[in-house]
Symmetry: C2
Subunit: 603 residues, 2 copies
Amino acid sequence: MTTADARTPASKRNARNVPEARNAPENEAGKSIGWHKGYVQGSRPDLQVPVRQVHLTNGKDVTLYDTSGPYTDPATETDVRRGLAPLRENWIIARGDTEEYEGRPARPEDDGLKHTSPRGGLRNLDAVFPGRPRRPRRSRDGRPVTQLAYARRGEITPEMEYVAIRENVAPEVVREEIAAGRAVLPANVNHPEIEPMIIGKRFLVKVNANIGNSAVTSSIEEEVDKMTWATRWGADTVMDLSTGRNIHTTREWVLRNSPVPIGTVPLYQALEKVDGRAEELTWEVYKDTVIEQAEQGVDYMTVHAGVRLPYVPLTARRKTGIVSRGGSIMAAWCLAHHKESFLYEHFEELCEILASYDVTYSLGDGLRPGSIADANDEAQFAELRTLGELNSVAKRFGVQTMIEGPGHVPMHKIKENIDLQQEICEEAPFYTLGPLTTDVAPAYDHITSGIGAAMIAWWGTAMLCYVTPKEHLGLPNRDDVKTGVITYKIAAHAADLAKGHPGAQDWDDALSDARFEFRWEDQFNLALDPDTAREFHDETLPAEPAKTAHFCSMCGPKFCSMKISHDIRREHGEDQAAIEAGMREKSAEFAASGNRVYLPLAD
Amino acid sequence: MTTADARTPASKRNARNVPEARNAPENEAGKSIGWHKGYVQGSRPDLQVPVRQVHLTNGKDVTLYDTSGPYTDPATETDVRRGLAPLRENWIIARGDTEEYEGRPARPEDDGLKHTSPRGGLRNLDAVFPGRPRRPRRSRDGRPVTQLAYARRGEITPEMEYVAIRENVAPEVVREEIAAGRAVLPANVNHPEIEPMIIGKRFLVKVNANIGNSAVTSSIEEEVDKMTWATRWGADTVMDLSTGRNIHTTREWVLRNSPVPIGTVPLYQALEKVDGRAEELTWEVYKDTVIEQAEQGVDYMTVHAGVRLPYVPLTARRKTGIVSRGGSIMAAWCLAHHKESFLYEHFEELCEILASYDVTYSLGDGLRPGSIADANDEAQFAELRTLGELNSVAKRFGVQTMIEGPGHVPMHKIKENIDLQQEICEEAPFYTLGPLTTDVAPAYDHITSGIGAAMIAWWGTAMLCYVTPKEHLGLPNRDDVKTGVITYKIAAHAADLAKGHPGAQDWDDALSDARFEFRWEDQFNLALDPDTAREFHDETLPAEPAKTAHFCSMCGPKFCSMKISHDIRREHGEDQAAIEAGMREKSAEFAASGNRVYLPLAD
């Protein structure tokens, strides 16, 4: 275990992503108190798994899962214009089953610009990252180059070993889960910068954060910043849902700087290419867009192939119709042409393309309910059955696949969703939005959905798509992204605890020990959000001494409940057996004296 | 149904509690759009039940439960120094089973002042509210004057009719639930200002907000303001947990101005009277404090009579010992004297006192778990069994009783709590703190606990005690109180939906209709927090026209999913049957042409 020195000059850090440096004293173990980037060494020199190490004042260490990438490593300098180091490049090349090729030339319309546009925003796309010539890579002979294919062949790839270390399980478990289709490891051969992660119910529950500009607002820099900010707080993957101008360029920036897998909805960009006229969409435009994005390195793509012509009328009786953007686009197309969805019709061809880059399917739930009234209805479950059918097809082509779900679902209807999905989709990973458990709290839908997210994750959902306070109202800003991610990390961890995930409770135990022993600094440093925890504490008790005080502002110095617990132990010794013996003796006396005494059973 | 005119000059309003007046246009029904205080007339002139009426732009009305009291009625002037009108006074007098008496004289130590204190803060307590001479009222002949006693006699009191209208159920249902001990209607004869409410699993899930100054910070005005602020956002009851100076006076102000039942923990004040030395507590000091508070009008009291001597050692092996303040005080007392709890020993005498004022018991869970590690342990359940025993005793004396529960409990251990409580306590209302489903997120414990609160309420908890973002870190300020209340109203409503509470979904449906039809103003006015919903929307799209725009900032004007849903309906008519017929025809063609067609089952 190597640990980066947190006392590196702040100047060397990416200020946007590293928590403020604190001149913390050293603990008995001679380690500076606080949290630091660390790495677990794998079986090869270039396989180092990042962790968040918390050095406690009592000399102990707590090691936590870390998604923040090189940005939180003071020993690494990052440059948003150079992008991150291609960590996986040698692993991909060493497999020898891919080749570089010329690839699809970038076109003005990729960025939503007319061919005739005076400002040819893409005249020199390749210059966006001069450091990395954009010669894309794909399968050498058309056979799948996916982690699923390798797992089925019994190979444990460096990516699999990487996630095994991250999840603290045996590499063979990772291979088995991927081979069985119960887990996915999204890792496009054209996105070598990622730190591999896995999505499956046997592993830690993951969280996705959506970013993306829209026709209405936001900029490229903002989106890249939101991505690094989201991973800083724990986002395991990020989806770029941009719909406005500069889609291609924004995505290139995000991909080259992202330590986590990036997902997209190619349909959004395809629609821009036909000026937002759904009926003008064609398989050719869509296919071209998928290849464009696969060559850039998109790790998973939402494909709404389950929105079929016969299901559209099922939404007519709904309270809120179709609320998925992709779903409504495909529904509009189907009705305009009175034809079956071109995504459904060309699904096998799409599988061949995705398999040659190892792009993972996220089969979209275009008919998810947009209100409590529409939950678990005919339209939703009809689509789910089709997703099950498509899941089998994708597997036949060796494409990794996960299934998207929920939306607005009241608590008593949540379990039916996960149970049905697991049955119909042969336990493929479920990736759910929320669900939102009520419609009445716009501005608080991170909470209405955090409730449903925790429950469905406990019951088996593998990845949760976050919801921010701006849901239904506007585009999330930086604070909204943080609030959404933190809320969903809470839901995910609560689910890990409920599932009895090995070691999940160690984190809670460490923080509770710190709390009971009034180790305030340790409590802050172990918190999901150390900055806010410290800030809230200091609001009431700003003085430094308060950080070591044996009380908090709730009860005050005069009378603190936990202080009493300590006094009890002090007065009556640590020998619990003795205490209990003495107490049971007392109890006996009460019994003798006719008191109603209750001796607790040992259940 | 009478409706207060919302266009009353703002000057006549209590600015602190009434949302900003807006010059909204009138809808077709000629009603000004927005939300307004309304009243439902009961069977007698002085029985008018407040409701929150939302007039929609489409001419419809939505009626919501209202806890905000006269403060949100522009037709009523409130004066914090005069207190609220004694709404129930005539009902109480008319029953003829109570009498006024001299009552206990207020003493300096009631406010934490020494007898010899130079600043005799209480020299003239009666002058705090010159408008109301403080001659307390109690049972004329010692027999219980409780709603439980009346219900058992088959009487439907005005209070019962009041809550029946509020909950939209038959008065007889209210009487039955109270008579059976499955519900409580906290209403001290000395707190005539309250608008009666009921707590029971057959009714809407309720939310309690804690306020209270401490030795460390906060003032009287702040606490009164927090109370009115909490009820403004939906708090159904408020607990005054003050522990610092001026406890008696603070409580007097809060009671005289509170439209909701007020709860306390008498032990806190009793402890102040013996200078915080737990071992110096006596039954006499405690009893004196209970009478002092009962005469003031406290509606329910938390009594930690379940913390018994033999259970204390069971906490020695815990990770976080005893975290309930009342629990730790009693544990310290038991150990100091090596005697059984004086609360347990004198429980029957206490019942007689509470019965003569109709103070409701909230049997405290002094041994609740303070960490995930301690959840559902021997100490917690041993105390619960004793609470079941005490519940039976209280019922024998005609005292209304609810049971306090949870704390920190992981999701998979929550149901065991409510199931065991319902069994052991003969379905007495469960009143739970959270539970917090993980320990790792200080500063976000409104969310870690909101998750557990929604679940346990779905499974039967009748009232939820809120948790604010400051939990474990400091004292909540105004914003924290609002955030805590809103979060818990979400949990409570999500549970009402999951329980299938009659009419609960009407609110969600009305808001979702407004959302789908782009009636932004209606969406804001129906929201749990209209102010924040409007503010978030305007952040991205400030212009007034945007309030009627048929899109939102998520997808932008060019392509909105819900807009498409409308287009689908427009293009294909409202005749759903026709649409479906046509579609099924198409489906048939696909089948004929050998396509895989899936005709959704009608499940």
